[in-house]
Amino acid sequence: MANEILEEHIQNEYKWGFTTDIDADEAPKGLNEDIIRFISAKKSEPDWLLEFRLKAFRNWKNMVEPQWAHVSYKKPDFQDIIYYSAPKPKKELASLDEVDPEILKTFEKLGISLEEQKRLSGVQSNIAVDVVFDSVSVKTTFKETLAEKGIIFCSFSEAVQEHPELVKKYMGMAVPPTDNFYAALNSAVFTDGSFCYIPKGVRSPMELSTYFRINASGTGQFERTLIIADEDAYVSYLEGCTAPQRDENQLHAAVVEIITHKNAEVKYSTVQNWYPGDKDGKGGIFNFVTKRGICLEDNSKISWTQVETGSAVTWKYPSVILKGNNSVGEFYSVAVTNNYQQADTGTKMIHIGKNTRSTIISKGISAGFSNNSYRGLVQIKKGASNARNFSQCDSLLMGDKCGAHTFPYIEIKDKSAVVEHEATTSKIGEDQLFYCKQRGIDNEKAIGLIVNGYCKEVLNKLPMEFAVEAQKLLAISLEGSVG
């Protein structure tokens, strides 16, 4: 009975599935050194960056797509992708008035113009937004306010022009251009993204945020984010993603790097809501992302929090290399899959420094016909004395046609390490739902209540505004998934 209702109901509409009708300045389809030179030239890049790209590309050609993830999909045809698509006209944008009104409307639909509107009307706000539309960063807000503190927050392209020494120094430090197939691809063809530098001793007075949106058909999005927190610096960084509804799969292969110096802390939160495909599994984004941070020096901390509800296929392992002594790495994740979505996500915690600590809390929720896997590596290198890790991986199943899998890898080379791993699998029970209903709470509300309760430890880590959005998103993603 429950299954019939389940089947009947697994058809939530994707709310953000509109496209924006604007002229785009596109590269021809396909990938070769000429295309890379084209992108680099379009962005007036220095020679060293073109070399970085070409080197990555030459490596990439000899690499094979990873097969080990617990996902199956038709491999993208890398020659059938447009690697550069910028909204026209491409010129310096001094104010929001100059941005194509169609794009602004899109942002309004996405609900992100709010902060900007507040700023324009003089209301104090605490989020600065950089918006990446297809391949180009459209507008970064609050730049002046941040500049007063010495914080650099701008598009990646701008950083290449304005702060080449910083980009050159840090780019590729956490994710080398030859790290893996998708990271190499990104390193060759990335078009834009966000750059953030917090100088010594500065705590960012506001949350910094990037919104990514893929719009043009047949394009891949390859953005790069680089965040550097210098000594004693702190920043909380947010990332949001949406894409229009399309029949074909679109590729998203981003790279995010975080570097923290002594006593610095970066908190990176993602609410990922790429188009997941329709209820029959048609379309949707392939999200093959490499995110990694290095706690370069002592007492630094990197914390990843992610709420993953979108994408047809997700392949993503935000990781932390704990190089500095006493450094801390955290990974808090909620991954929801419904219909035919597949997610293989988790983290790597690489302990190198002494007294390093890491925490992994992963909450997977599978519904419909989806498959949800946690894959994690905890590695304690020799000499990482007194390293500690605590991992908790919980899976929640809704219905009986979905799958939940856990692949924890633990490698310990230092005897003083303490590593704990806990895992549970549970099912949203008819009993729990009936209990809620008997107290007057209907099905949808009950599922929301139960799922939010299950994810509480992770949602609590999100900044306030994001937590509310994430809760709503969870409810929408799972609408009607239990009878």
Partner: protein, 252 residues
């Protein structure tokens, strides 16, 4: 309050309720007793709207409305409360949040505004005293890690918070030691009024020493085979269910 007429219910091919007739008026306490497998819990589940059962015949009128046509949540909003024999755990959802959601859903159904946080907390404080519920339990996850006694007390606490018209207590006495039984019973007694009604489903006469029923019904093989006053429970206690079984086996 509630009028059950010729109620038949099956699970799969098995008919469990085979023609229940019961009339409960406001202000009354009814006890339904019976041996294992007689259909006591089925009756409470069917009334509360659990979907595992198929109603094959009969009708149930609750406050003038056809109960069997209503979704489970609407039955609750109309004022039907079931204290579960085995209360369910909901990890990560605090008792407070759970009850606040429930209360406001019920209020919304009746066109009332949400209760303010201040009033709600005052109500929690007030009602938790009734069942001597530790205020810490109110902020813990629903039934998670509660002892058997705490779970049962929590059911009565929820009942106090939601203030139902008809409360069905499904073996609320099972698994309770004598002190907990006294606390639970005194809570139920304090909640009794001329405007609400209670159905106690129980195995043992023991509970009825604390909550004195106006009527006692004996359920056997899906039918009420005998009804009487509170003395019937004592008679049953003295003779045991075997006597009943013998007496009604032939009628089957």
């Amino acid at each position: 309050m509630i009028s059950i007429k010729n109620l038949h219910a099956s699970i799969g091919d098995k008919e469990i309720l085979r023609g229940i007739n019961l009339e409960v008026k406001a202000g009354e306490v009814h006890a339904i007793m019976g041996p294992n497998g007689s259909g006591k819990s089925t009756l409470s589940s069917v009334l509360a709207g659990r979907e595992d059962y198929e109603i094959t015949e009969g009708e149930v009128i609750f406050n003038g409305k056809n109960l069997l046509d209503m979704a489970a949540e609407d039955r609750a909003r109309e004022g039907l409360f079931l204290a579960f024999q085995y209360p369910i755990e909901i990890p990560g959802v605090s008792n407070i949040n759970f009850l606040r959601t429930a209360l406001n859903e019920i209020r919304a159904y009746h066109g009332q505004e949400e209760m303010s946080a201040k009033d709600f907390l005052a109500l929690v404080k007030d009602k938790s005293k009734l069942v001597e519920l530790d205020s810490k339990l109110a902020s813990r996850s629903v039934n998670e890690g509660f002892s058997g006694g705490e779970k049962k007390r929590n059911e009565i606490f929820q009942m106090a918070m939601l203030n139902p018209k008809l409360a069905i207590l499904d073996e609320t006495d099972s698994g309770l030691d004598i002190d907990a039984l006294r606390i639970v019973a005194s809570g139920v007694n304090k909640l009794k009024s001329k405007d609400n009604a209670t159905i106690l489903i129980t195995h043992y006469q023991r509970l009825l020493d604390y909550i004195v029923p106006d009527f006692v019904h004996i359920l056997y093989k899906g039918r009420i085979v005998k009804s009487g006053g509170k003395e019937l429970a004592l008679e049953l206690e003295a003779k045991g269910y075997d006597e009943i079984k013998k007496e009604f086996e032939l009628a089957d």
